[in-house]
């Protein structure tokens, strides 16, 4: 888990996560990066076989954020994980920012190059 530090960010998996973190920093919003992993499925021996670690947690809002730049046709697995999260952890607030949402956010903040990079992304490994 990594906490918000303005000049020392953790190693992000995707550039859009870093941009998102910078936007939160700018507005003075405290965040944590992948602070918690939620087990979603278990094998017969009780070992966790599937889990979900949302990208960000905003402690003041008690809100988890998951970003995905996957094309819509590739988000089935992510959507299923989100549904499973809601079933198993109904009291946990998680918001999914999809490819279009992230791109709109970038455009809103004048980050056309980053938006363009997302538009050019064919796929990102579904994690």
């Amino acid at each position: 888990m990594s906490k918000s530090r303005k000049n020392h960010h953790p190693k992000f998996i995707h550039p859009s996560e870093e941009t998102f973190a910078r936007i939160l920093d700018y507005y003075g919003i405290e965040w944590e990066y992948e602070p918690r992993t939620f087990p979603l499925a278990w094998d017969e021996e009780g070992n966790v076989s599937e889990a979900f670690a949302p990208d960000f947690y905003l402690p003041e809002q008690d809100l988890y954020i998951e970003l995905t730049t996957l094309r819509p046709e590739l988000t089935n697995r992510k959507n299923r994980k989100m549904r499973r999260m809601q079933e198993l952890y109904p009291s946990i607030n998680v918001k999914l920012f999809k490819r279009r949402d992230i791109r709109n956010l970038m455009v809103k903040y004048g980050l056309d190059q980053q938006a363009q990079r997302i538009a050019g992304t064919e796929a990102q490994e579904d994690q």
Binding site: R22, Y27, G28, Q61, K95, L105, V107, L111, A119
Partner: protein
């Protein structure tokens, strides 16, 4: 001259794929909001505060639909950009001229999306000790809310789309369209590439 400006208006409209809220729909809703605010704030001399620039059109129409004495003031805030980030945190670039102590303040927004800017501004305004502080927005885009902010007056729920018009811009353009609509994908250009393809 008139022909020239008409051509420019047509150029803006030509980039609109679909109108989501017509001029008439917006007028009707703003009138209803103004009537509600007039009732709620009767005898309280409210101060309407807007953040530039997107709110200009809504603020002007809302003010004219309010039937009680009311005052108005504006502030402006730096938006996020790589350049602004280098200068540090978000900051006010234009402050209010009106003291807020013991005033009934209604913060007026064109659209509330993530709530990041609004959260910053409300914290700032609260520190000035107004008697009350409420939020009024023409458009609410609640799907992307990151900061939970109570909204007292809401015009329309905005779909999860990038819209322009009636104050909302793309690269400072389209604010002056009298309706709210969707841009055609080819209108989103970065260099020679289409961002929304």
């Amino acid at each position: 001259m008139i022909e020239d400006s008409s051509n420019r208006s047509e150029e803006l409209r030509a980039n609109i794929r679909e109108i989501l809220f017509s001029t008439e729909q917006i007028e009707e809703r703003v009138r209803a909001m103004g009537a509600e605010i007039s009732m709620d704030y009767a005898g309280r001399n409210p101060l309407l505060v807007g953040v530039l620039k997107g709110v200009l059109f809504f603020m002007a129409d809302l003010l004219r639909s309010i039937s009680i004495p009311v005052e108005v003031d504006f502030m402006a805030v730096s938006s996020y950009s790589p350049e602004a980030r280098e200068r540090g945190l978000v900051r006010l670039v234009k402050d209010l001229e009106t003291p807020l102590v013991e005033r009934h303040v209604l913060f007026v927004e064109d659209v509330v999306d993530t709530g990041l800017t609004l959260n910053y501004l409300l914290q700032n305004l609260r520190s000035r000790k107004p008697s009350s502080l409420e939020v009024c927005t023409l458009f609410n885009k609640s799907q992307h809310r990151l900061i939970n902010i109570p909204i007292k007056y809401e015009g329309f729920e905005l779909p999860d789309l990038f819209v322009v018009g009636y104050g909302l811009d793309y690269r400072e353009r389209y604010r002056n369209l009298p309706f709210v609509g969707l841009l055609k994908p080819e209108a989103f250009q970065s260099g020679s590439k289409n961002i929304f393809e």
